[in-house]
Amino acid sequence: MANVSVSKKACSVNPLKMSQPIGGALAFMGLRGAMPLLHGSQGCTSFGLVLFTRHFKEAIPMQTTAMSEVATVLGGYDNVEQAVLNIYNRTKPEIIGICSTGVTETKGDDVDGYIKLIREKNAAVAHLPIVYVSTPDFKDAFQDGWEKTVTRIVETMVEAPKSAARRDPTKINVLPGCHLTPGDLDELRTIIEDFGLEPTFLPDLAGSLDGHIPDDFTPTTIGGVGVEEISMMGQAGWTIAIGAQMRQAAEAMQKKTGVPFRLFERLCGLEANDALMSFLTDISGRPAPMKYRRQRGQLVDAMLDGHFHIGGRKLAVGAEPDLLNEIGGLLTEMGAQLLVAVTTTQSPVLERLPTEEVLIGDLEDLENLAKAKDCDLMVTHSHGRQAASRLKIPFFRMGIPMFDRLGGGHQLMVGYRGGRDLIFDISNLLMADHEDNHEPTPDSWRDGVGPSHAATSH
């Protein structure tokens, strides 16, 4: 039972958190032919754009209503209308997803009302799907923006089936949290398909931001789940939601369409994937394919090999709640101690973390606590690089943004295979660190200092 506290500082130093609207915008990017539109000043969009481009190393679709000082005071109807029409004329999107920002929420623009009016006044966009989500920057965090946006998409775009008979038990809805990478989604798709089931991912970042090469220059997203497919999600047999953040969306789906859901708070590690396998066996009526029996063996083997290096490690993790739960959980199961856990926003999952204290704070907190508790492995996104180098401890990058390394979008965590890869990557990092920095020398033996970290090697 972890005790959750909130940092008392007035000044956030080295933010771990990113803003809610760009979390929402990312969710829209998992839809095909989508143009995410931030209702706010131009800078808010520009910063989000740079952030995502640096992380995914892909061209990113994202637009702004370009609110000026004057427009902000007078209200943004004209800007929203112009933006919608401009986007419609120029890029012919299949859907426009609008997220508000702090700027427009402070004034209190009624965007839903605007959209109604825009549709009435402009026949061209009368039937264009436009989804609006309220996501002020001064509340909550990235993960919350994602959560609200997916929920909103379910509420507004999924159609209730006309009769129960139209349900198709082989169809599965998957609602992934924003802590999963495009690589994770691909892995999940393969697993589910191997049980003879047909998954629909909402959102589907694997289709849009997995680094494939487009046929053409589309200014909107180039892949992802289509508007049509979303509307039919009500006919699926089950919904699988991944991460506590997706409970709300899964519930909304059930409420609207009657599709039952199963929430997996974790999908990284042995037990978590055993649970997934049995669930898929149950709902498909098929035994787990041979492939996964072998992969399970490989994960077990990796855990045995890796525990020498990971066991006893004093771990400091900074991540959004669900990612924190995944990686903190896996490494704790391998014998590491989650001594420092810093996160960005409230979540029911925090209390269940295998640690005593969870702090909603920033990377300064992570650094100070890691120092105080003498941690010897840090896991967080790229912004943790300075802290880790000051502390001179090994640093494993996870989460968004990962701008100073390649392949963040393909980092694998889910499935037996994901767990295996992650254990190898982290163990190798620790081994390299040991060789580089902690090999005993005649001097260290003489002084009785010995290797300076606590890994139980050999």
Binding site: C11, S41, G43, F47, D137, F403
Partner: protein, 556 residues
């Protein structure tokens, strides 16, 4: 807010800005903030610009007052380098919440300043205002003043909420803040006749250090670099320098000019990009220092150094000539000063097939014509599809551009090199140009290109996505060629003014119907060039073309 709008007016009245000087009084008042188009493109906000300009001051704590978006989404995203303190890389923000929005964020701001002083004790704190606190009326000037008195430490307000305008306005507002609160507030320990300020240089990738050794060798001291690798105390005492070099006129001309006005420090605009530019700049620095009292022998030493460095650089570059034979380069830089690298590339034997001139002035364009010939391929505004086609048709072998268009080249499986802000290599000075040529060579001859262009085994010829994209482009071009009416339509549909969204046809019609001959006239009738004014050059060209066409008709 009223003092902010006064400051904005003031920076727009900048007589040092060439574009401004040509405008009428009323036009100047309107300023050059471009009214952005909702749903059009997005650039950075004024806050972004201010932070970019000032954050390279390395020992200062940069505190962003606002919700998490402004700092949380963006910190640690610039490649400036520091020779000392790394405090500038620490992200500080008040991360204001709902309660602050309702009751005001001033208390939180004050407490934040105190926490920073207690924990980090920097020589100064810069406080950046952003949109939300500006809207709810947080008075950061007052908070900074109170903090300054309480803690006896410079706490400097930077009034640049994002919604007042684009990035370049933010650069200027940052400069104003320095002029108002920093420059001239401290005295240097000593001065020499060789004291130089460098203004508008950000030391991206440590570029300044490619030039600094040369200045060191000449005994010239960089008194303050504003702001690359700058330190607070240096900037505060920079009013005692003898001369200044302004590296980027767009960003901080107000600082250079007002320092000349207030402290009599003459400045010139120079560049260390390109070999000849570097030499010119060194000469100019020496000349100005001598004028202000340095011994005349400085010039001889400077000339000797230039001769030595140029010879070294040209020799290094010449080695690449045989390898670059017949290789063609497409240069997309936003157009600012692209000609300064053109000379070096040509010296290396590369052929320039096009360069963008979107932001270039008339003089820049003249320079390009001089270097590349009358038929220089100047690109106003290339769509991604056009760039792609150019690369695909092998009309260019490599593209040099900023990060934004990298994906076009990469998706076309063509070499690309970053020459804008996020580059990993430093290209300044003599060594920098050699480095650039080296990097081009590496990119061009990388065997990866042959690999990635190979079709997949299951693809039949002409069936891959690249040929489909090409076929589509060709079909469009063919359709236009076959149909003169459509072609004319397409020609007339070309956007000339992006801010006000005015097309070529509209402008031509207005010129003919009203017998217009000036940009002002066109603006009055069509609203073109009523925004940022960048298209004024294009309109002038249209006018010139139509005049010469009508003369030709008259002569027949």
């Amino acid at each position: 807010m009223s003092s902010l709008s006064a400051t904005i007016q003031d920076v727009f009245n900048e007589p040092g800005c060439g574009k401004n000087a040509n405008k009428s009084e009323a036009e100047r008042k309107k300023g050059c903030t471009k009214q952005l188009q909702p749903g059009g493109a997005a650039g950075g906000c004024a806050f972004d610009g201010a932070k970019i300009a000032l954050q390279p001051l390395t020992d200062v704590a940069h505190l962003v007052h606002g919700p998490i978006a402004c700092e949380g989404n963006s910190w640690d995203n610039r490649g400036a380098k520091s020779s000392g303190s790394n405090l500038w890389r620490t992200g500080f923000t008040t991360d204001i919440n709902e309660t602050d929005v309702v009751f005001g964020g001033e208390k939180r701001l004050f407490k934040s300043i105190r926490e920073i002083i207690e924990k980090y004790d920097p020589p100064a704190i810069f406080v950046y205002q952003t949109c939300v606190p500006a809207m709810i009326g947080d008075d950061i000037d007052a908070v900074c003043k109170a903090a300054r008195e309480k803690f006896n430490k410079p706490v400097i307000p930077i009034n640049s909420p994002g919604f007042v305008g684009p990035k370049n306005l933010g650069n200027k507002l940052a400069g104003e803040a320095l002029l108002q609160h920093v420059i001239g507030t401290e005295e240097p320990e000593y001065t020499t006749p060789y004291d130089l300020n460098i203004i508008g240089e950000y030391n991206l990738s440590g570029e300044l250090w490619q030039v600094k050794p040369l200045l060191d060798e000449l005994g010239i001291r960089i008194m303050a670099c504003i702001s690359g690798d700058g330190k607070y105390k240096e900037v505060a005492s920079s009013h005692r320098a003898k001369a200044a070099m302004m590296v980027c006129s767009k960003a901080m001309i107000n600082v250079a000019r007002k320092m000349e006005e207030r402290y009599g420090i003459p400045f010139f605009e120079g560049s260390f990009y390109g070999i000849e530019d570097s030499s010119d700049s060194l000469r100019e620095i020496a000349r100005m220092l001598i004028e202000r009292g340095a011994p005349a022998e400085l010039m001889d030493r400077t000339e000797a150094l230039i001769a030595r460095e140029e010879a070294k650089a040209w020799a290094a570059i010449a080695k690449y000539k045989p390898r670059f034979e017949g290789k063609k380069v497409l240069l997309i830089t936003g157009g600012v000063k692209s000609w300064s690298v053109v000379a070096a590339l040509q010296e290396a034997g590369l052929e320039l097939v096009g360069t963008s001139v979107k932001k270039s002035t008339k003089e820049d364009k003249e320079r390009i014509k001089e270097l590349m010939g009358q038929d220089a391929h100047m690109i106003e505004d290339m769509t991604p599809r056009e760039m792609y086609k150019m690369l695909k048709d092998a009309r260019a072998d490599i593209m040099l551009s900023g990060g934004r268009s990298q994906f076009i080249a990469l998706k076309a499986s063509m070499p690309w090199l970053d020459i804008n802000q996020e580059r990993h290599h430093a290209y300044m000075g003599y060594v920098g140009m050699v480095k650039l040529v080296e990097e081009i060579d590496k990119a061009l001859y990388n065997p990866v290109w042959a690999q990635v262009r190979k079709p997949a085994p299951w693809e039949t010829a002409g069936e891959n996505w690249q040929s489909r994209a090409m076929a589509q482009a060709e079909a469009e071009a063919a359709a236009l060629a076959a149909d003169p009416v459509k072609a004319e339509e397409a020609r007339r549909a070309k956007k000339i003014c992006n801010c006000k969204s005015v097309e070529l046809g509209v402008i031509e019609d207005a010129i003919l119907a009203n017998n217009l001959s000036t940009v002002e006239g066109v603006r009055e009738k069509t609203n073109a060039s009523g925004g940022c004014g960048a298209c004024a050059v294009r309109i002038e060209e249209i006018l010139a073309q139509m005049v010469s066409a009508s003369h030709a008709i008259a002569a027949e």
